[in-house]
Amino acid sequence: MEWYNLDTWIVITGALCASACAIPGCFLVLRQMSMMGDAISHAVLPGLAIAFMITGSRSSLSMFVGAAVVGVLTALFSQWISQFGKVDRGASMGIVFTSLFALGLILIVQASNHVELDASCVLYGALELTPLDLWHWEFLGLSFKAPRAACVLTMILVINITVIGIFYKEFKISSFDPALAKTLGIHSGLIHYLLMTMVAITTVAAFEAVGSIIVIAMLVVPAATAYLLTENLVIMMFVSVFFSIAAAILGHISAILVPSWFGLNSTSSSAMIAVMAGCLFLIAWIFAPKQGLLQNYFIKSKSHNKAR
């Protein structure tokens, strides 16, 4: 196996993407609203399309604004529908995000007749191509070069860490005990929409690299894996980032290696990263110290012996 500069960048971009997703992902998992990530990652599509139509450019900034607005709207709408329409939360989410996604698809197909805004690019991403699109800048006389996707994802990661860092207490209390949050005067609603905005912006940044489907795996799987292993929130976030990085490294290496065992060419790295994240979850689930499969088995057989 030959390792190029390109591979290093793919792994870095993948790891940044997965880590940036894992941090808001932890709160989604804790608040038992993992599928909100799915909903938002799909629902931002019309936001992207409209931002593109208005500004006519694919510059990151307008896309982020469009996505953030629609992301918050998704959360708002599904809240309203479940409150006033007397349907459960899952169903209202299903109504909102499929309708918005479909609307986005219509807009994109319509727009792509005139300009190149490719639906398949939004859906699947192109992690392999990201190292070709470089940003150059100079700082203190040194010149740097890095893939644009990696730069954007670094910023998103920093934003996510900063926001969580500043509002750590509010996030924690409103996630675990909404009633207590209320008595303490914490505005749970604001925190909720802040989280939704974070998810929306993160998803958009991740689109280009991994597409809107694999990004769901990155939001949910490392966080869920970490949740199996620890009950401490700070440790959980660190562990989820660790699993994100591990999945990126293992994923890209196996995307190159595994097909070559069968005489095929390398396969999609982003998909393989998601597969590896799933494998890591499986391993964690089997061996987890408290809720693991093996542990449960031993506890059961022990208590069985005691009973005898």
């Binding site: 390109l6 990151s60 191509l129």
Partner: protein, 336 residues
Amino acid sequence: MKSKFSLVIIASLCLTTLMTFLGCKNPTEKNTQKLEVASQNDPLKITATIGMVGDVLRNIVGDHGNVDILIGQGIDPHLYKASRGDVVSLMEADIIFYNGTLLEGQMGDTLVKVSTSGKPVYAVTDNLQNQENYLLTDEENHYDPHVWMDVQGWMSATEVMVDALSKLDPKNASTYTSNAEKYKSELSKLDTYAKESIATIPETQRFLVTAHDAFGYMGRAYGLDVRGIQGLSTESEAGVRDIEELIDFLVQQKIPSVFIETSIAAKNIKALIEGAKAKNLEVSIGGELFSDAMGAAGSYEGTYIGMIDHNITTITRALGGQAPEKGMNGLLSLSH
């Protein structure tokens, strides 16, 4: 709480300004490193997106360069996605050639990005794009990218390639030019063969019906009325109405043969034949044409000349014209 929110707003504002600042700063200085590589005696590393471009390049550079082709035999360039190996090839290349006019779908965008980093990247249809009234467009004003179907159009593309190579590697420029002259004389022989062969088809039968609109330039250059089921790109699915209109056209004009393409599934053409049968017109498959990809590497059909020779010979013979069974050079295999 309030102060924290304003902190976040200030922080995000700072980051946005940073982002826009970074986004605006495009590199203007060209990378001169690549030129030094060329001046050494190593063969040039040349990457071409499609086989038709790569084959011409091989004829021009001879031993002075290695040509790597990304979109190989039987692959549809409209739907093609770059793999890691392709990106490696693009990054290692000294010079990159692509067809342009949006043939390569997503790749075109990426290639433009590669070129901003200073690597020489050329669209071989550059000259034709500047030439007025050469490029065909569909009703939505998309360019028809299948320029190689007209041999004279491809001769112009050859010139783009020679100029670009000579600029990159001036030491061997004379070799490139003389190789290209030799190759172009073969191309003009092919052009004449195509004109003469198609002219032998009875005038009422000069209809070319294929799976997608890839033969517009061939039709214009050699006098064929061309119809395709799918549009210029295979990305859009064929509608039932498209097929029905085409069936009516077949029946009206009593067209004896339609053609399948190597890089596209034959299901639409089969539907066409079934439909014509229901209206009492026996239509046969006139043969398999190379539209967006050449034949197997190493075979005669795996070269540009062989591909066009195959297409012209197959079309001419299926529509009742006169052409030698083994084509212009007597090298075609008899599978057509």
